[in-house]
């Protein structure tokens, strides 16, 4: 009994760890798309943030400076995407794809030029990383059966940035639904003309939305390289930016449901890793490639079972042009 509980707890804890970058990216996507800007470049931003954080942390030894660098780089990328989408009314999907390709190449080029390690950054010591923290009371509560275990293994002991991820969900919800800024942001994604005729700048609102998205993906990218791992490896975002988009759609562009969608993906990823090498009844051993492909397959299945078109913010992806 105890063994099963431990197993379950460790799976859930793994789920939370794996879902964290997805949550950051999904919240970022919600801000962006709720204001009417489609952001395919979540993937590129996660990767860029990961590279920036790992590089700066390697050079300065400080994870906080790495975090700042990641946020800064991502805000710059957001400005580029914003410039193309908002000011120039360009194709938002093309802009996003372009950024992803540029980042994918540039991280390797710069990594090679600066660190000479075929695209990897130097491995970091734990001082230069974000490490797991124990919440207060873990020691004291650990002796209590069941609850103590849940507290010490599942709730406490996560990386600082994991807790920040949960916080970001709450903050996203509060900003969108309890502030004036959030009301206007949601309005501009539904009917930008209504916002314009009320005397509010559509462009300024959208720029702020994409910049917020940049901040969130910056933290997400930092997590991937210097919290979850100890260095940057080429293409380490591995499609998580796209999966976050699917989670956002599945969560109907709302923060809390999107978070649960991220947990779903995370859980399946954690489950797949558990099943690696394990022989299942009737099926035998599951091929490792199938396990690696499972999040992508799940994304497709979720998108298939789901009529996403009708529920997106009405002006999502439509450039705002003043008509004559």
């Amino acid at each position: 009994m105890d063994f099963a509980l431990n197993d379950l707890l460790s799976m859930l804890a793994a789920t939370i760890r794996v879902s964290t970058p997805l949550i950051f990216a999904a919240m970022a996507g919600i801000f962006s798309e709720r204001s009417g800007i489609v952001d395919i470049s979540l993937e590129g931003k996660l990767l860029a943030g990961a590279f920036a954080a790992a590089s700066v942390a390697a050079v300065t030894g400080s994870p906080w400076l790495g975090l700042l660098a990641a946020i800064g780089v991502n805000m710059l990328l957001s400005l580029i995407h914003g410039f193309a989408s908002i000011t120039h009314n360009g194709d938002q999907v093309v802009s996003g794809v372009a950024i992803n390709i540029i980042v994918s190449g540039l991280t390797v080029v710069l990594g090679m030029a600066w660190f000479h390690r075929a695209g990897q950054t130097p491995t970091l010591s734990s001082d230069a990383r974000f490490m797991p923290i124990d919440l207060p009371g873990t020691e004291a509560l650990s002796s209590i059966p069941v609850l103590g275990d849940i507290y010490s293994k599942l709730i406490s002991g996560h990386n600082l940035l994991v807790y920040v991820a949960f916080l970001s969900v709450a903050v996203t919800w509060w900003v969108l639904f309890r502030t004036r800024f959030g009301l206007r942001l949601r309005a501009v994604g539904e009917n930008p003309k209504a916002v314009d005729t009320a005397g509010i700048s559509v462009a300024f609102l959208r720029y702020r939305a994409v910049l917020i998205a940049g901040i969130l993906t910056g933290i997400g990218g930092t997590y991937i390289s210097i919290a979850q791992n100890a260095s940057f490896i080429r293409d380490m975002s591995a499609g998580q930016g796209y999966i976050a988009l699917a989670a956002m759609i599945f969560g109907k562009w709302k923060p809390l449901p999107a978070m649960f969608a991220c947990f779903l993906f995370g859980f399946l990823d954690a489950l797949a890793m558990r099943l690696q090498g394990v022989s299942l009844p009737y099926i035998g051993e599951v091929p490792v490639q199938l396990i690696q492909a499972s999040p992508y397959i799940l994304t497709v299945i979720l998108l298939a079972g789901f009529v996403g078109k009708a529920i997106a913010p009405k002006a999502d992806g439509v450039p705002y042009v003043k008509e004559r």
Partner: protein
């Protein structure tokens, strides 16, 4: 607010603006090269010489271009239906799988002239099949085709690893590759073909599929602008509601177009598997699907533009390989950076220069006007 300028002449729109976008992309790339501590002009010199300076280099350039023509046409035909097919990577990969299956099964029993069409059809069919599910999901379930095709790229990568490691691998070998095809199952190289005609050129991977690419481009042009199916395709792309009014079924068009798109991408597999590698191996696509996007955008979704852009990108890839050799501090991924910048400036920021050009042109127009008035 709104501009009060005259509209640009057609040639400016079709030639000048893409050229300007290209220059901006190269300018930004130069800055990056400079940042790394190398001389951009040197770098570009090496690239141009590597791509066009030798007959061997030119062969490589055109060989790369062959792939890009296929993936570029694939993206372009989807764009004509307002669909963004990012799945060229996966579709080309799986297309190559189809080619390999046919050749490995039949290369001991059939002659070249039977194997060639069979492999070609298999490449197209498998590529189309890999586009079918995302196509269906977009047409009938509204699932965003961009995300599903990207997912299928990842799935294809994993699938191919599995197949190569567990099924196609030569028993006893450690490398995930199939056996080499027999002579009958290999496309002749262009240097071989020209050799039969008495012309000597340097060896390069350029092969018969280049001719296939040109033929397919012509067929593309005929299909899109000179048949009723092309009319229906463009109608759906421009206005789904009007297409429905006209009795065209947008869902069917989306399906058919994506299948054709996947099939076109699959032909890149023909080039690599039957034309160059002569076996099935990992990662023979190596980013060509994404290059197809850049090529289609630069080439304005028209076969002539696509062929020209493909040659440009072929030069970039071949030049980039030379560059990585001569200037090791610039890794070959720099080509992808340039590619991404071109997509950005030709795709999303395509008309950034338009207001400046319009001002320039109206300045010239008014100067001419005042000149004629003086007379």
């Amino acid at each position: 607010m709104s501009s009060t300028k005259q509209p640009l002449p057609a040639w400016a729109d079709i030639l000048l603006i893409p050229l300007i976008n290209l220059c901006i992309a190269f300018a930004v790339s130069s800055m990056i090269i400079y940042l790394i501590g190398e001389n951009p002009l040197e770098a570009f010199k090496v690239m141009i010489e590597g791509a066009f300076g030798t007959s061997e280099g030119l062969g490589y350039t055109l060989y790369y271009a062959t792939n890009f023509i296929f993936t570029g046409l694939a993206v372009a035909i989807a764009f004509h239906a307002m669909l963004f097919n990012i799945g060229g990577e996966g579709q080309a990969y799986i297309g190559g799988l189809g080619v390999a299956i046919v050749l490995l099964a039949l290369d001991q029993t059939l002659p070249f002239w039977a194997l060639f069409p069979l492999a070609l059809i298999a490449g197209m069919l498998f590529g189309a099949a890999w586009a079918a599910i995302p196509a269906y999901l977009q047409a009938y379930r509204g699932s965003h085709i961009v995300i599903t095709t990207i997912m299928f790229n990842f799935i294809a990568a994993n699938l191919m690893v599995y197949l190569l490691v567990n099924i196609f691998i030569v028993p006893g070998s450690m490398t995930p590759e199939s056996r080499v095809f027999s002579e009958a199952a290999q496309l002749p190289f262009m240097h071989e073909i020209l050799g039969w005609l008495g012309i000597t050129i340097s060896e390069s991977p350029l092969n018969l599929s280049f001719i296939v690419a040109i033929v397919v481009s012509i067929l593309f042009w005929i299909y899109v602008w000179h048949t009723r199916w092309g009319y229906a395709l463009r109608a759906v792309g421009f206005s789904e509601s009007a297409a429905t009014y006209a009795g065209i079924d947008p869902k069917k068009i989306i399906m058919v177009t994506m299948l054709i798109s996947g099939g076109l991408a699959g032909l890149a597999g023909l080039n690599e598997v039957m034309g160059v590698q002569h076996k099935l191996m990992l990662d023979f696509v190596a980013g060509y699907g994404f290059t197809g996007i850049a090529v289609a955008l630069m080439g304005r979704n028209h076969p002539v533009g696509i062929i020209l852009s493909s040659i440009l990108f072929g030069a970039l890839f071949q030049g980039g390989a030379e560059l990585a050799f001569e200037m090791p501090s610039i890794s070959k991924e720099m080509v992808f950076v340039i590619q991404g910048l071109i997509i950005l400036f030709s795709g999303a920021l395509a008309y950034m220069s338009k207001p400046w050009l319009e001002k320039l042109f109206s300045l010239f127009a008014s100067k001419k006007h005042s000149e004629t008035e003086v007379d």
